[in-house]
Symmetry: C2
Subunit: 138 residues, 2 copies
Amino acid sequence: MFSIGQLSKRTKVKVPTIRYYEETGLLDAPERTDGNQRRYDAAGLERLSFIKHARDLGFSIEAIAALIELQGHPDRSCQEATNIATAQLSDVRAKIKRLRALEKELVRISKGCDEDGVSEDCYVLASLSEHGLCEREH
Amino acid sequence: MFSIGQLSKRTKVKVPTIRYYEETGLLDAPERTDGNQRRYDAAGLERLSFIKHARDLGFSIEAIAALIELQGHPDRSCQEATNIATAQLSDVRAKIKRLRALEKELVRISKGCDEDGVSEDCYVLASLSEHGLCEREH
DNA sequence: TGTAGTGTCTCTAGTGACTAGAGGGTCAAG
DNA sequence: CTTGACCCTCTAGTCACTAGAGACACTACA
């Protein structure tokens, strides 16, 4: 049995975050000592590791709740779990796409003035003022 | 002079967001009609367009406040504005890098089971349970 | 058994950048 | 002068936590 602090160290999830997961129902409420402190078993550790891993991959709490729900239903697990993962993947890809557009624009903007010290019309500021200076939508 | 709704339409910034910008000091409080409604002039429109554009490029409110501050100081504008833009650029690049790692991992995970319908050990769920199945850190 | 020090408890409030809703007042056209 | 669209302030909610206060529990050592 682990205390919340030990669980925190093993999973690298902070103590208040663990309590937050419990509050939101992602994590089952564990047993308590006589003094009202939480004591976790191996199942709690496993569950929290799962959550941590999914969060690291950017899944929302909601998506994780759905995945956990599926763990209890092996009959319909695989396809639905894959769907959730695929949705997460397109989300990530959309974000990448958008960020790459921003990257290009920012490169263009910041190249404008940094070469010859002070110019009276700052290209960065001018670019932000006039959308017309942009090469594409963002 | 524009009402807040007209300003909203022109800039595509929602009305409550405009009020929020005013509240946080990003936007100057405009004149009011006798009936206490906001009336904006061209300067207000320009300022809000600037903010919108910078937000679209992912600058934080804090960074935008700094950029606005610089607009009043042309003597030290350029270098500092470029620094802010460059910081934003590295931020964007860091995010892209991380997302690309996630993308790879998600591709790997979701390829695991979607081919032959139902399998009793869902690879998606298994992958999330065991970090050891991952190819790299994320 | 006492005590010191670390860990844990609950509760409230704060983060960033908004968004939603209630309950009212104002403006402009017809 | 009424109708309907617009606007006002204020509070509370979003997501996924994070921070802090004030109190209580556990453990190791003397």
